[in-house]
């Protein structure tokens, strides 16, 4: 009975043929490797994102006035709503991470070379779409960070020459960040970008089937346009094994581990936000992007101003062109990373740069600590045995908000240098000049301080040095 049903289905659907040309297609046995699991891992994350995203859309309200409240409702009242939000958030983090691993693996294994150029190109665009999902998703979490994140996006658009103002309007769906902006990003996050991803993913997988998966590269096995495809066909014919069931085992194990990791993170670390409501009147906020965009956030703070427009508008285009066109200027030759030291160095440099910038972004040393002038205590050691004038200076250091940028005893802003040993670096004349005129990143305080206040401030700062280090001296006055 079962057999006859199976045979009927096979007759109508041609399942065996479908299987042979897809899941059961022959692959080189060398691809049965732990390095080849990142593609399927990314796919699993994507499917999970679609499922959790669709379920979140049961409840989420994409309205400027309701979105934030509906997220609170999801977090606190809907059965397992918090868990779904957490899965969606951690799923996105894992997806970006595993996709990056996939990108690096295919780069180091020369998978982009002839004849798999389009697989690489579609993969690069898929990577961009995924980052687009990350940014638009951050906006749908319509909180303070989302609101000011949109402001940052609009400011970047506003730097585009000639059509900047129009692009700002297109992005915000109007003149200001408002309900229509959210609707626009909802459509992008839920329809436009996922639709593009599904289309590109179909192409990507179709190309993997059509041109075969990249064999594990051997050092010295050089790709030549004349012979590669024949060699590959020959290898498949002689040694090829069906992907299912021979090779899929490692993919299955990795996918299961990824899902378990996402569930574990969701369970123990919970959903992200929403932070405060998207009310622009609540200006006591320090907007920061999600971790994927921390390197850009840092670069924008640390780069000299004259490079910024270049960094924002020109450099991404150049980098993307270099990445996407890679198979067209480096499409043949050695595949193995063991014979491509430059490729390895590029990956290491890229990871180091991104990692370091992201790390700096987590504590943003360039931002003033807005509350330090009220909350950071003055170290007692710096107050003992000081004259009344010096103590007056110690008070001014707090009340004039110097501590927002300058730390004392390890507390306060990191924007300017710590003041603990300032007397060893600057003489009193230099201190007076620096306070009154400012320089570098320090504003001038000449207009805001009376002469007596400057005197008190400098008197106090002259005491800020360890007893074993001499005070700074002006050699010409010695």
């Amino acid at each position: 009975m079962l057999k006859s049903i199976a045979l009927w289905l096979e007759d109508r659907l041609h399942i065996v043929k479908l299987f042979e040309s897809t899941a059961g297609h022959k692959v080189p046995p060398s691809t049965n490797s732990w390095f080849y699991v990142f593609g399927s891992g990314t796919l699993v994350c994507f499917v999970l994102q679609i499922v959790t995203g669709t379920l979140l859309a049961f409840v989420y309200v994409p309205s400027g006035s309701e979105a934030w409240t509906s997220l609170q409702y999801l977090n606190n009242q809907v059965f397992l709503g918090w868990f779904l939000r957490a899965m969606h958030n951690w799923g996105s983090i894992f997806m970006v991470a595993i996709m990056s691993a996939h990108l690096i693996q295919t780069f180091l294994f020369g998978a982009y070379k002839y004849p798999r150029e389009l697989t690489w190109v579609s993969g690069c665009v898929l990577f961009l779409c995924t980052l687009g999902m990350a940014f638009t998703g951050q906006i749908l979490r319509f909180d303070q960070d989302a609101y000011w994140g949109l402001g940052i996006g609009a400011s970047i658009m506003g730097r585009v020459p000639f059509i900047g103002a129009q692009l700002v309007h297109l992005m915000l769906a109007g003149s200001v960040i408002a309900g229509e902006t959210l609707s626009r990003f909802f459509s992008l996050h839920v329809f436009i970008v996922p639709g593009t991803i599904i289309a590109l993913l179909s192409l990507h997988l179709r190309l993997v089937l059509a041109k075969g998966i990249n064999e594990y590269p051997k050092p010295g096995a050089v790709v030549k346009k004349e012979s590669y495809e024949a060699e590959y066909e020959e290898m498949i014919r002689k040694t090829g094994v069906p992907f299912v069931p021979n090779v899929i085992g490692k993919d299955l194990i990795f996918s299961a581990l990824v899902m378990m990791a996402i569930v574990t993170c969701a369970l123990f670390l919970g959903p992200q936000g929403p932070s405060g409501p998207p009310d622009p009147r609540l200006i006591h906020t320090a907007p920061a992007p999600d971790f994927y965009f921390l390197p850009i956030y840092t670069a924008l703070a640390l780069l000299p101003a004259y490079m910024e427009t270049f960094l924002l508008l020109v450099l991404p285009v150049i980098l993307l062109a270099v990445l996407i066109l890679l198979p067209f200027y480096s499409g043949t030759g050695e595949k193995s990373y063991r014979r491509r030291p430059f490729a390895v160095v590029i990956v290491m440099l890229a990871l180091l740069t991104a990692g370091l910038l992201a790390y700096l972004g987590t504590f943003a040393p360039w931002s003033p600590h807005m509350e330090a002038w009220r909350h950071a205590p003055t170290p007692i050691a710096e107050l003992k045995g000081r004259t009344p004038l010096q103590l007056q200076g110690a008070i001014l250091i707090q009340s004039k908000q110097c501590r927002n940028c300058h730390s004392l005893g390890g507390e306060g802003g990191l924007r300017g240098p710590a003041l603990d040993t300032v007397a060893t670096r600057l003489t009193s004349d230099q201190l007076i000049r620096q306070v009154i005129q400012g320089s570098g990143n320090m504003p001038a305080y000449g207009k805001n301080l009376r002469p007596a206040e400057v005197t008190a401030l400098v008197e106090f700062m002259e005491t800020l040095r360890p007893s074993y280090q001499p005070a700074a001296m002006d050699p010409s006055r010695r």
Binding site: S65, Q166, D279, P287, K400
Partner: protein, 195 residues
């Protein structure tokens, strides 16, 4: 790899041969087919334009930025003491019902003396984050990338490329009014026509 075999060049060549063999015997049918194909393709191009032009027009309508700013009251000038800088808010003149709190736009009002004011946009000129006023050090500080501005809005330190954006203002029957309704940015610090 069974699939590439199914459309191997030899088969394609055979199909092409077959097609060319049948073509001459049905030449009248072929020209009729060609005509129908051309009409069909032509009609679809027209239909695509009829569908596409309004769709693209709808989707890109905000690119044209037709909206204009209007005068909005920030309250009686008595609320802004001389020599001080205060936070004020106005309701976006183009706000919709579903904008929620985002319709409330904050700005900094500095009353220089009895008659003259400065009204600054809340947005840092670097990347749009909200700047905060510090009365004691008489500075605006930005929480994002460490930009700072003097009390008159001019650039004091950090990455911002210019001073704070300023609204046009006027005092009318004891009320301070600003020309507001758009997010100022480097391309459009003021709306065109706001003079």
């Amino acid at each position: 790899m069974s699939e590439p075999n199914s459309d191997c060049p030899c088969k394609k060549a055979a199909l092409a041969k077959e097609a060319s063999a049948t073509a001459p015997s049905a030449s009248s049918g072929s020209s009729r087919r060609d005509l129908l194909l051309k009409i069909g393709a032509g009609l679809n191009i027209i239909a695509a334009a009829l569908v596409g032009v309004p769709l693209v027009g709808y989707a890109l309508s905000s690119f044209a930025r037709a909206s204009t700013n209007s005068w909005i009251s920030l309250g009686p000038i008595a609320e802004f003491p001389e020599g001080q800088t205060r936070l004020a808010t106005y309701r976006n003149p183009q706000s919709k019902q579903w904008d929620g709190d985002t319709a409330e736009v904050p700005c900094w009002v500095r009353r220089v003396d009895t008659e003259s004011f400065q009204v600054f946009a809340i947005n840092c000129t670097h990347l749009g984050c909200p700047v905060r006023w510090f009365q004691e050090s008489r500075l605006f500080m930005c929480p994002c990338h460490g930009g700072a501005f003097y009390e008159d809005g001019s650039h004091a330190s950090g990455p911002p490329p210019r001073g704070l954006f300023q609204y046009k203002y006027k005092v009318e029957s004891g009320e301070l009014k600003v020309l507001g309704g758009h997010l100022p940015n480097l391309s459009e610090p003021l709306k065109k026509g706001d003079v």
